[in-house]
Amino acid sequence: MAETYTLKHVNVPPAQTWNYLKINEMQLTVPTAPQTDVIDVSPFADIETGAGAEASAWLLASAEEHNLHMVSAGETKTVLVVACGCKQAVFHDVLVGKSANAKIAVLATGKETYGIQLRVSLDEGAHAQVELFVAGGDDSVLLCNEGYRLADDASLEVNHHVLTFSTAALGTCIACDGANSTAELTCRNLVAGGTTLDMNYLLRQRGRLSRSHIDVSGVLAEGSNKNLCDTIDLIRGCKGAKALENEVVLLAGERMVNKSLPTILCDEDDVAGNHGATIGSVAPEQLEYLAERGLTPDEVTDLFRRSVVEDALAHARALGQTRAVAAVLAASERILGPEATAELRENA
């Protein structure tokens, strides 16, 4: 039997709750042990990542190469990160120069256990748009560890499209260090029966007048497991900062496990922090309305699933990345079936 190792503290939120709720961390079995003698000496080493130090150590040790991308000041560039392997990781750092514009497409289409580490540093006035497409095999176990650091006036848009996987652990930390920096983190997810999605999203706001928004929505099928810890940390000194967290979960089945820990940590009075979460199923009266128009309850749920896939497809097409489009369409075949996917292809 191949040797494996269990990462015990993955996706640990900064503020924890009662241990019996089993929401404070995740354990993940990986093919090899993290090597403690591999030290990250890059300038990105101090960028905090969402999945944690143990995860970072494994990803650093498992990556065949460490990729560095530079987007020069004022330049516009697209970076493609592809993780399609098996039992290995990809490791990418991106430096986005002053007033530069970067689009980063991340394709997670691997098999068995695989990982992605992405760290992005945005200089003054820089903008980055990151699109993650999780469309791995039905047996895939993904560890995706992201860290972002924003200087003054930098802006970041991160979109996670989580479509197919067996287990996916997504850890994202965004540090709005600069004044007037803004960050938006959106996740649209489909959690199928028998699969597990664990997310730790952390927004640390240090910059004055910084803005952040976390928006997570998804559909949970019968027998699915989803864990979301999203934290906004308003750190002393971030006067005038605003933060907003939203979560919407559609429960599409009788039995599933949905855990949420939406946290606001506030050490500064001159801020505004809000969060809201709504968890439930399509209301009976809405189902009735749609039934009168010929839709069964399963078809209604499919509408929501389709909207997530369509959204992913639209983002992939807007990026101009054919591999991303292909990955989403392949996932769509498994989620919606060939007929619906053919429609999506035609609508391009």
Binding site: A15, Q16, T17, W18, N19, L21, I23, N24, E222, L234, R236, V249, L251, A252, G253, E254, R255, M256, V257, N258, K259, S260, L261, P262, T263, I264, L265, C266, D267, E268, D269, D270, V271, A272, G273, N274, H275, G276, A277, T278, I279, G280, S281
Partner: protein, 485 residues
């Protein structure tokens, strides 16, 4: 600038004994008075089986209660406090806490029979007056023992039982108490539940028979007078099918520069179609470690209402919990927490929805000022059996200066597809526009801030009987003094 909380090294530098804390000078003369302990019985500090046996022997308890105490003590020593969440309790040293301090008096049914200085204490706190004006019954606990317990004849004639729990243990209700005591909060629940099980003393037993509606509230008031001591009262309330009760709990203590501990326990059983409202104004002094545990179990169509105001304590861990085990049962929690200088109050609530068509509504407010830390911590668990359950959680936090802290950590665990759970939270400060508006109408800045805070707290104070709302508003006013600068 708020006085800071001392740690062990600072204690040593200043020559203080372990467990001492600085307390902010707030005008709390109404609560901040001490009485001499002449002639009192005080057990030695620390926690040993001999102390536990002495407490049990003093109360002449049945064997099962001594057995529970000793098992609890063993569990206490076995369990650890979690280190990954919650405020630090490093300043609490059980080797410097006496678990039993008692005046030399027996429980009385008339204030005339209560020793003068103790009666004077409760007169100053307004308890006898409240009893005369609007209560159906009062229990008053002083340090480790109940010193007064009485109930109106009208309530007694309806079959309501309201007595000291130790008194009830020696009568016809021993069996009922055995079947309910530490069943909702077992000793293994957490370390301080185990401590409570080992050294509990005092507290009330309430039994409201089927169909009886108690028109006026019952109240228990807990006063901890002794320095370096703990209070571990146990409140057990059983409200039978179709019955209705409002129970009010109040507490206070004078400030000391050593730690005091409150590890009480409240267990509430709400029968089918019954209603219980449990209101608390917690006003412990700011050297107190308040590690209280409250839990209710609600049967079919039962209603549990919590109203909670937390103003005192140096460190607080307080999460009233409701188990909705019967179909269509419901829970409502309305609370306010005010964390001032030297305070770290971790409060909130838990609801476990374990049956179909259950309902839960949580609405809390928190304020932090003068370097205080207020943490709202909650959990809503919807089990697979809770079909069509509906829960809403709302938390608003107001920060009154830029040296305080406010966190919200609400957890939701939903396992039923037909349930519906909503949550919202806001954190912010009093807006400059609001203050400008009020001040332009001739109100000083301090008054303006107090008005806004009172308005913020209004949804909670209006749930209380008028006299308690007045007390709550007075406590807010006390906390707001010096809020400028």
């Amino acid at each position: 600038m708020a006085e800071s909380i001392t740690n062990a090294a600072e204690d040593a530098r200043k020559g203080r004994t372990a467990g001492s804390v600085d307390v902010t000078e707030v005008d709390r003369r109404l609560y901040d008075f001490t009485m001499p302990e002449d002639g009192y019985e005080r057990y030695e500090d620390g926690l040993t089986p001999e102390i536990v046996r002495s407490i049990s022997a003093k109360k002449d308890e049945p064997d099962w209660m001594l057995d529970l105490r000793l098992r609890s003590l063993a569990i206490y020593h076995e369990l650890e406090m979690p280190t990954n969440w919650g405020p630090s309790i490093d300043g609490l040293d059980m080797d410097h806490i006496s678990t039993y301090v008692a005046p030399k008096t027996k429980q009385a049914a008339s204030w005339d029979d209560v020793p003068e200085e103790i009666k004077d204490t409760f007169e100053r706190l307004g308890i006898p007056k409240a009893e005369r004006s609007y209560l159906a019954g009062v229990g008053a606990q002083y340090d480790s023992e109940l010193v007064y317990h009485n109930m109106q004849d009208t309530a007694a004639k309806m079959g309501v039982v309201y007595s000291g729990i130790e008194e009830a243990l020696h009568g016809e209700y021993e069996g009922l108490i055995h079947d309910h005591f530490m069943r909702l909060v077992p000793p293994r629940d957490h370390k301080f539940a185990a401590l409570h099980g080992a050294v509990w003393s005092g507290g009330s037993f309430v039994f409201v028979p089927r169909g009886v509606k108690v028109e006026f509230p019952l109240q228990s008031y807990f006063r901890l007078n002794a320095a370096g001591a703990g209070q571990f009262e146990h409140t057990l309330i059983i409200v039978e099918e179709g019955a209705d009760l409002h129970f009010i709990e109040g507490c206070s203590a004078p400030k000391y520069n050593v730690a005091n501990l409150h590890a009480g326990c409240v267990e509430l059983f709400v029968g089918k179609g019954a209603r219980l409202r449990y209101s608390t104004i917690e006003n412990w002094s700011k050297n107190m470690y308040n590690l209280n545990t409250k839990r209710a179990r609600v049967e079919e169509d039962g209603v549990m209402e919590w109203v909670s105001g937390s103003f005192g304590s140096h460190v607080g861990y307080l999460y009233p919990t409701t188990e909705l085990v019967g179909a269509r049962s419901s829970a409502e929690f309305t609370g306010i927490t005010f964390a001032g200088a030297t305070q770290e109050l971790d409060t909130g609530c838990k609801v476990i929805m374990g049956a179909p068509d259950t309902r839960a509504a949580v609405s809390t407010k928190s304020l932090s000022k003068g370097g205080g830390t207020s943490i709202f911590r909650s959990s809503v668990m919807v089990t697979p059996r809770a079909e069509r359950a509906v829960a809403t959680v709302s938390c608003a936090s107001l920060m009154l200066d830029d040296i305080s802290r406010s966190d919200t950590i609400p957890a939701m665990d939903v396992r039923c597809g037909s349930a519906s759970v909503g949550h919202e939270a806001t954190i912010g400060r009093i807006s400059d526009d609001t203050l400008s508006y009020l001040m332009s109408r001739g109100v000083s800045e301090e008054e303006a801030r107090t008005m806004v805070v009172n308005g913020f707290a209004n949804p909670i104070s209006k749930e209380l009987p008028l006299e308690y709302a007045v007390e709550m508003n007075n406590l807010i006013k006390l906390e707001m003094e010096g809020a400028i600068g």
